[in-house]
Amino acid sequence: MAAEFPSTDPSTDLERTHEQTVAMNEALILGAVQQHEVAEIAERLNAQVQVEIAARQQTARELAEKARLLDLSNDAIIVRSLDDKITSWNKGAEKLYGWASEEVIGKDLDSLLQTEFPAKREDIEAQLDREGLFIGEVVQVARDGRRIPLLCRWVLDRETESILTSFTDISERHALEAALADRAADLVRADRSKDEFLAMLAHELRNPLAPLRNAAEILQAANTSAEEREQALSIIGRQIENMSRMIDDLLDVSRITEGKIELRKKPVALEAIFTAVSSLARSGCAARHQDLAVSIPTPPIFLDADATRLEQVFSNLIGNACKYSGDGCHISLSAERAAGIEPPEVVVRVRDDGNGIDPELLPRVFDLFVQATRTQDRAHGGLGIGLTLVSRLVKLHGGSVEAHSEGLGLGSEFIVHLPILREAPPPSPPPPPAAREISRRILIVDDNTDSARSMAVLQSRRGHVTRTAFTGPAAVVAAAEFLPEVVLLDIGLPGMDGFEVARRLRGMPALAGVFLIAMTGYASPEDLLAAQQAGFDEHLVKPVDLNVLREWLRSRV
């Protein structure tokens, strides 16, 4: 800008020049002002652009975060256009179906994924168009051919003209539902088994009554021959033995289930167990003309076991083999030391060529109350608890048992694995000599008068002096008068229970040292403890084992 000042000399040229200069300055100033304005506008626009850029960057960041969140989801989240072209495919979809995003973008979703819909596709599309939403279960086939059950949600986004779809893998839920259904079926089956068992139990407990009644009739008849009398007595003994075994089995199962059974383990030779088992089983096998082959292992095998319980195990297995094999079949009991197994174990096999086991029954053969079909079962009796007992007793010994059969009519084999001792135990000391039988004064107390009287007769015949009482108070009075050496005392008595009677007797100085024996139908550890606390010396489960009682009368009183 030329900074010229007007001259006092009014020369025309100078004035013109001045005017021109002012005009130029004016133009320059106007240009500068406009430039200033333009610069301001530009800066304002620039500021707006910066704000917009920042907003877009924020939006981009948020979108990226959302995309990452979508990728974190295990669900397959897919966006497709209205003409079914895939526009978005998250990591969940990659994992679920096996295709990477780059492989599927732009492809037709229906062509890529074979889908079984719960309804007609046209109906689903119509619902989506009408309601903007479809939710349902579908089955899709992944890249590797897996068929995946999925919960599918479709949302129609009219604004972007796309369909947002998510698929949740419900395989696990389906598996759980199936497991639940199986469990429910198991429970129904177990309930049915229980009902069948109760019906069978009633039948089995009633069964011995008829032969017992018949035997009693025979014994009462005046013209009964000695042979008939012997047969009747044999029937009575056998039926009582059967009932006792049945009840013992039931109690054993209950005790094992409740964890109340205690093994009395000590070193025992397997040979001794085999001998005891085979001697018990031979008569049954012989009656059916069955051959029982027992192979005793050499060198001898010793176990740390409860011999009575193992005898129960093998008796049950041989008893079953005998029951479920026809006349003339072959049964074998064998054992061998398992090779190369640590800790060492013996493998015992009970094999028969009898009826075999239905393949459907085989997996459940050790379950409680499971038996072969009723028809088949009723021919042989039993409660369906024998194999459960076998399995649980073997398990209590630290072993295992398995059942094999090629099918019905093809025989069966039960294999028992039991841990064994590495070395033979030192020989046990010889048993003490049997005590001489002495006449005792015995008070027998039972509210079942028949039971009390028959026991009194039996003990009188063995040379003892007996007296009976049928109520608690009567027992206390009888004891005070009779001064017994031994009292066989029932627990469930009218007027005063057996525990209270025992306490009263223990309080009578005249009865100091009296041998108190509880007689009950209960034999749980709690019952034994209660009897002990009431002052009883011993406990006998009904029906009383007379041999045990005889031994106690000889040696303990």
Partner: protein, 145 residues
């Protein structure tokens, strides 16, 4: 530039008006500059610079909306003058307006020439100790303020 502007307004106030009436002083400063600068850049040129200065100053002092630039480049209130007077805000607005006018002049013709011109208008005033420096970049528009 605020310093110089404030000094010019203070001078015009003390010379011609009772204390506290600031707006007319601002007008007189503007008028004196118009008379002198119109000779150099023309009335249109001065009007353009003053209008621009007013527009920029209004952004910082909205009370300046009550002021307008006439076609001849003179400054006058839009409505009643009494509303414009006696307020510190208006006084501050006047300082801002004059400062912005000087800032634009410095931007367009340079600081030295601006100072020469100011001295020619107010020869009694000394600006030796004034802070005739750029508080803002002269070409930097006010949008960012």
């Amino acid at each position: 530039m605020r310093d110089v502007a404030a000094r010019l307004i203070a001078f015009e106030t003390s010379e011609n008006q009772p204390a506290g009436i600031c707006a007319p002083a601002t007008f007189r400063v503007s008028e004196k500059l118009r008379s002198h600068l119109s000779l150099l850049m023309g009335k249109v040129g001065f009007r353009a610079v003053l209008s621009r200065a007013l527009a920029v100053a209004q952004a910082d002092s909205p009370c300046l909306c009550a002021v307008q630039v006439n076609a001849d480049g003179s400054l006058e209130p839009v409505n009643a003058t009494e509303e414009f007077e006696n307020t510190c805000q208006i006084a501050e607005g006047g300082v801002l307006l004059v400062a912005q006018l000087l800032t634009l002049l410095a931007a367009f013709v340079g600081e030295k020439l601006t100072l020469v011109l100011v001295r020619e208008v107010w020869p009694k005033l000394s600006f030796e100790d004034s802070n005739f420096t750029r508080e803002d970049h002269p070409m930097k528009p006010t949008a960012a303020r």
